[in-house]
């Protein structure tokens, strides 16, 4: 079994497609929806954690690509710009998965990409633009 986190971006004409249903029924994938968002222009964004056999996962990703859904691995989504970080800790109390964490002895902040679900809360709260979404 393999697990991967992906960001899916849907153009407006695909927002009515039952994508998650198909990933579950036809590709036998476990789907955990981490985050969803539809913009005023009706472009959709879904962050999914997909678990399944490697082969099925690859087939599922092919299906999404053919459909015209843009996919991106989540670990590349949010970046911590260490040099810009002042270790103020403002982000740490709002990070839902504790990907951003304070080491209490040093009072310094660290970022664990694997735990990040790209909720982008840190981007809203960081006063120093030290968190960035990579496009």
């Amino acid at each position: 079994m393999t697990t991967t986190k992906v960001v899916l971006r849907f153009p407006p004409e695909l927002t009515d497609q039952p994508v998650t249903y198909k990933l579950i029924k036809e590709y036998d994938l476990m789907v955990n929806i981490l985050r969803g968002h539809i913009t005023p222009k009706e472009e959709g964004m879904l962050v999914l954690e997909l678990t399944g056999k490697k082969k099925q996962l690859d087939r599922g990703m092919d299906y999404l690509a053919k459909l015209g859904v843009e996919t991106q691995r989540l670990s590349k989504g949010v970046k911590w710009l260490k040099d810009r970080c002042t270790h103020c800790t403002a982000c740490t109390s709002l990070c839902p998965t504790h990907a951003l964490l304070v080491e209490r002895d040093t009072m310094m902040v660290s970022f664990d990409r694997d735990k990040c679900i790209a909720c982008e809360m840190c981007i809203t709260v960081c006063p120093y633009s030290a968190m960035e979404v990579q496009v």
Partner: protein
């Protein structure tokens, strides 16, 4: 009992014992305060937090032909500067934002760029765009100028902050049902989080609570260079309730600071953006405390567990200027990452960087040990708890109708 002069002699000989405000805590505990006061010469403090009342003034030099920007309009990288001074003296405030910034039109606004960022870029050695328009006079005929300019090109570039280094600050929470966007950061509804903003036991004015050594003329670490305390800060409010050690239990004293921007470093002066609120400058300050006697040592060795601050609701109490707090917590509790408010466990976070404050105190210690930084005796003390200062709100008074003749 020592004098500043004696301590400076020891610094020059490389014989002064200098400790940071963290190191002094264990030292005083082990040696006892009397012996510690005899042995230690200087305690260094530090703080690195957003300080709204910051800014810089510049003399940009005279163009040929001359222009009187004074009384006209001027911008640095699109950020408006104050021109109500002499012909080519400009004053830039940290919170200034470009005229075309959308502000909170789409709430919460990003406030991505403003005065604080211009200061950071200038200090980093970058060129910025100076644009100005003027009305033209016989002696200053020009009406418009557009040029790139860097700190190096200017005659003077001075950081001048009317209020920095707050002695204590509120813990901000939100008891309402919606997220709010404040200068204390994003506060989640129903006590979702609590934000504080002080370096606690490392913070300069906590280590000299009655301003016995810190006063007008005190030489300090400012933005990576040296600066001076210029005056008490605005809203300086020393007559507040204090703990047995003399530490204010609520926001109290402040200082105004000044220093040569050309000496400073972008790591230590940072443009800052608060979502939905505005732009700011995060300023680094380190102040040395000469250990002249045992009392000064005991106060400098203050610990996070001995410093308390009120928890204030920023959805209703703060904006409506209603008094009352939701309780009092110590900085030791705040730094643990969780406090209890109304029986609820609330995660805490700081806006002021303790890690950077520690680094500043360490750098200042290093400067003093190397003999590169000598202490100053202040020229005049700051108003203290016996000053009778009353912190006033604004009492609005209607304009008087003009009498008809």
């Amino acid at each position: 009992m020592k004098t500043v002069e004696e301590i400076n002699e020891k610094i020059k000989k490389g014989k002064a014992l200098v400790l940071t405000a963290e190191e002094i805590i264990d030292f005083a505990r082990q040696k006892g305060s009397k012996r510690a006061a005899e042995e230690v010469d200087v305690v260094t403090t530090g703080t690195f937090g957003p300080m709204c009342s910051s800014g810089a003034y510049f003399n940009v030099g005279h163009s040929r032909p001359r222009i009187k920007i004074g009384g006209g309009k001027a911008y640095l990288n699109g950020v408006p500067v104050y021109t109500g001074l002499a012909a080519v003296d400009l004053l830039l405030g940290a919170t200034a934002i470009p005229d075309d910034d959308p502000r909170n039109a789409v709430f919460p606004g990003r406030f991505a760029y403003g005065g604080g960022h211009v200061i950071e870029e200038l200090v980093a050695g970058k060129e910025v765009r100076l644009t100005a328009t003027a009305y033209g006079t016989d002696c200053y005929p020009r009406k418009k100028i557009e040029t790139r300019i860097s700190l190096e090109d200017m005659n003077e570039a001075v950081l001048f902050n009317p209020r920095n280094c707050y002695q204590n600050y509120n813990v901000a929470v939100n008891v309402s049902d919606r997220a709010i966007y404040t200068y204390m950061g994003v506060l989640q509804p129903r006590l979702g989080n609590a934000n504080y903003c002080s370096a606690g036991q490392l913070s300069p004015l906590f280590c000299d609570p009655f301003y016995r050594t810190i006063g007008i003329g005190t030489r300090i670490f400012l933005g990576g260079g040296t600066g001076y305390v210029a005056w008490n800060g605005t809203q300086h409010n020393p007559c507040v309730p204090r703990t047995d050690l003399g530490v204010p239990r609520v926001p109290a004293g402040t200082i105004a600071v000044i220093g040569d921007l050309k000496q400073m470093h972008p790591r230590w002066l940072r443009g800052t953006s608060f979502r939905g609120y505005g732009v700011n400058l995060t300023v680094s300050i380190g102040i040395p405390i000469p250990i002249l006697n045992e009392e000064i040592l005991v106060q400098a060795a203050v610990r996070d567990e001995d410093i308390v601050t009120p928890i204030v609701d920023y959805s209703q109490s703060y904006p409506q200027r209603e008094s009352g707090s939701l309780g009092e917590v110590s900085y030791a509790q705040l730094k643990s990452g969780e406090i209890s408010v109304d029986g609820k466990e609330v995660p805490t976070a700081s806006l002021s960087s303790y890690a950077m404050a520690r680094e500043i105190a360490g750098i200042l210690k290093d400067w003093i040990q190397k003999g590169e930084f000598l202490l100053t005796e202040c020229v005049q003390g700051l108003p203290s708890s016996d000053s009778g200062i009353v912190f006033k709100g604004l009492q609005e008074k209607p304009f008087r109708a003009k009498k008809l003749i």
